[in-house]
């Protein structure tokens, strides 16, 4: 089915820099509910963008529209300058949905599932090459699942299943990678490993859109942010967009916001306060713990911190 013309076209698409352009996107579900209205944002190559918003703000809907799984009622999406359908058929987009809806009793092993990510790179008969096997090994290694590669896919824990599908998307090597809440149910070690991988991919010019409720890690690895609440409230570089003000607009009263400071926190008279903002996860905050590390350093760099970051620090 893949003739020479196809291959040429594919080469052309790979040569194009990764980009996502969402223009006045409106999605109305068949039941009449408009989940997203007039949403617009643009992203370019070599970037990790966070998609942030409350439950029901339309994050997954945006992903589905980008994948062409729901048809926009108005507006359009272009990927690498191409219409969605064309971009998808050229295998330039990898997507990990929020939850996998598959038959877990299927007779496929973990490594088989990850190999499925490589099909678009294989010949007509889908016979894996050395490179395909290498990419699968690499992807499994990245998500710390190598030890489980011979397990049947249903014989895994929830987080492990999630990691396998993440590995599949990584093995696919799309120029555009969409991850819908990849870190829910994932432990910190794996999360760090995946974030490092995303950083590497960013270096290589890939474009990643990642939805998350884990606000603390956003400034950590995302250079762009899109704040969503049934439309785009703000979009742009993290430093200028991911501000307390914008977050409060995005989350309304739902945010949890802790302010710590003063003599309870430290002995000196530093007037600055630590502000802990969190979305759905409750931060783990220790008080009055005997200092283990340089207390001062912590005080200075930690403006926003969540449970996970703090975990990682200790």
């Amino acid at each position: 089915m893949m003739n020479r013309l196809d291959t040429v076209k594919r080469g052309e698409a790979v040569a194009r820099p990764a980009s996502i352009a969402v223009n006045d996107l409106t999605v109305t579900y068949p039941n009449g509910f408009t989940a997203v209205r007039d949403a617009s944002f643009e992203l370019g190559p070599g970037s990790i963008c966070a998609l942030v918003g409350v439950n029901g703000s339309g994050k997954s809907t945006v992903f589905k529209a980008i994948m062409g799984f729901v048809t926009p009622t108005a507006g359009q999406v272009r990927l690498c300058g191409l219409p969605v359908e064309k971009a998808i058929s050229q295998n330039i987009v990898a997507y990990v949905p929020q939850s996998e809806d598959v038959d877990w009793n299927f007779p496929v092993l973990v490594e088989d599932v990850v190999m499925m990510g490589r099909y678009g790179h294989m010949n007509f008969l889908r016979i894996p090459s050395k490179k395909d096997r290498l990419k699968v090994d690499e992807a499994l290694e990245r998500v710390n699942m190598s030890a489980y590669r011979k397990r049947q896919i249903g014989e895994l824990s929830g987080g492990q299943k999630k990691r396998v599908f993440l590995a599949r998307a990584l093995a696919q090597e799309g120029r555009i990678i969409l991850l819908d809440e990849p870190f829910t149910g994932i432990d910190v070690t794996t999360e760090t490993a995946i974030i490092n991988l995303l950083r590497d991919l960013r270096e290589a010019g890939h474009l990643m859109l990642v939805s998350t409720h884990n606000l603390g890690s956003v400034p950590d690895f995302c250079d762009q942010v899109v704040l969503l609440n049934r439309t785009v409230l703000a979009a742009g570089p993290t430093a200028s967009t991911f501000t307390q003000e914008n977050l409060e607009r995005t989350f309304g009263g739902v945010l949890r916001n802790f302010e710590l400071g003063g003599h309870a926190l430290h002995e000196d008279d530093d007037a600055r306060r630590i502000n802990v903002i969190t979305d759905d996860e409750r931060p783990l905050v220790f008080y009055g713990v005997k200092s283990r590390k340089k207390k001062n350093a912590k005080k200075q760099d930690a403006k926003k911190k969540t449970a996970k970051n703090q975990d990682a620090d200790q």
Partner: protein
């Protein structure tokens, strides 16, 4: 009767050789398709298409075109009509299918009684593998062989489509082609099997081998292989048994397949009933090894004095916050 005679005696007859060839061909192609049907949950689809071919056969006879063509067209029409009705109503697929295929089957029966044909209804319904001609054999070999070739070449794409159609779409596979392709292949398989086992019994051939293999392995490629082996053994055994007991061949093959399934259902090393029983009845861990409740953590001094009092909860549920914080402490 000695075991050699059991097999060699029937071989003396030409019609038995043809019957054997036919049932092996049909067994193999049905076995491969059965793996997909079992995994995709399309068992009823197989049943529906096979029943729905009846009016196609009769109409083809009236029009004087090859019966296989009419059967194929009717089978496919059933599949497409089911899809269309399901898409355009809130009724579930299996319900729609039940209505469509029983309607078409009924229509076929009515037509059959109104039209003078040289066909025996019994042969269409239950097959007549002992009566196949060399031409029949060649026709089946072409249809079944072609189908087998396509399915095996595209087995990985078809598997991915069955397992995770969304991902198939995401990596740019033509999902619609795969969907309708599988339906076409299924219809072709059924058409090629009618002479051997008939439209009533073909569903057994389209389910049993796959189901049997599914209980034996967790790898798809092996599942395919096992299904084909199971089906071919059943074809050989069934054909010979029917010769010796002078019974209906299709029925004998189906019976042997069902027997194989039963054996595997009971004795499969990983998924068999006995194995599951064994696992369930295993004595639990000795009481001492079960971890007791976690030791309470030593109280954290200074937890309540200091910064905690300064927590400002703009979310508006202070009590909850304290709980959350304390809860995490406890779980540490």
């Amino acid at each position: 009767m000695d075991p050699i005679g059991f097999f060699s005696e029937p071989f003396a007859y030409d019609f038995m050789q043809r019957a054997l060839g036919m049932s092996l061909l049909v067994g193999a192609v049905c076995a491969v398709l059965s793996c997909y049907l079992v995994l995709k949950g399309w068992s009823l689809m197989g049943d529906a298409i096979s029943h729905a071919v009846l009016p196609g056969i009769v109409i083809a006879f009236v029009l004087g075109i090859p019966l296989a063509v009419g059967a194929f067209a009717a089978g496919l029409a059933c599949a497409l009509l089911t899809g269309y009705l399901k898409y355009n109503s809130r009724v579930k697929e299996d319900t729609v299918m039940g209505i469509v295929f029983s309607g078409m089957f009924g229509f076929g029966l009515v037509l059959f009684t109104k039209v003078e044909t040289d066909q025996h209804l019994n042969h269409i319904l239950f097959g007549n593998v002992l009566g196949v001609t060399t031409a029949d054999l060649i026709e089946t070999a072409i249809i079944a062989g072609g189908t087998l070739l396509v399915v095996l070449a595209k087995r990985r794409d078809l598997l991915l489509y069955c397992f995770d159609p969304n991902h198939a779409r995401a990596i740019g596979l033509p999902v619609n082609v795969l969907h309708y392709g599988l339906l076409v292949l299924l219809s072709l398989t059924i058409v090629s099997s009618i002479k051997a086992v008939g439209i009533i019994l073909v569903i057994a051939m389209l389910i049993a081998p796959g189901a049997t293999a599914y209980l034996l392995t967790d790898r798809f490629e092996r599942m395919l292989l096992i299904a084909v082996l199971v089906a071919c053994s059943a074809s050989v055994l069934g054909t010979f048994i029917s010769f010796h007991i002078d019974g209906a061949t299709g029925a004998c093959i189906v019976l042997v397949q069902a027997f194989f399934f039963l054996l595997v259902f009971l004795f499969s090393p990983k998924h068999g009933l006995l194995r599951l029983r064994e696992l369930r009845d295993q004595p639990g861990m000795p009481a001492g090894t079960i971890p007791g409740p976690a030791e309470p953590l030593p109280a954290l001094s200074g937890r309540t004095d200091g910064a905690l009092q300064q927590v400002v909860d703009q979310g508006g549920r202070p009590a909850d916050q304290h709980h959350a914080i304390e809860g995490r402490h406890g779980a540490e």
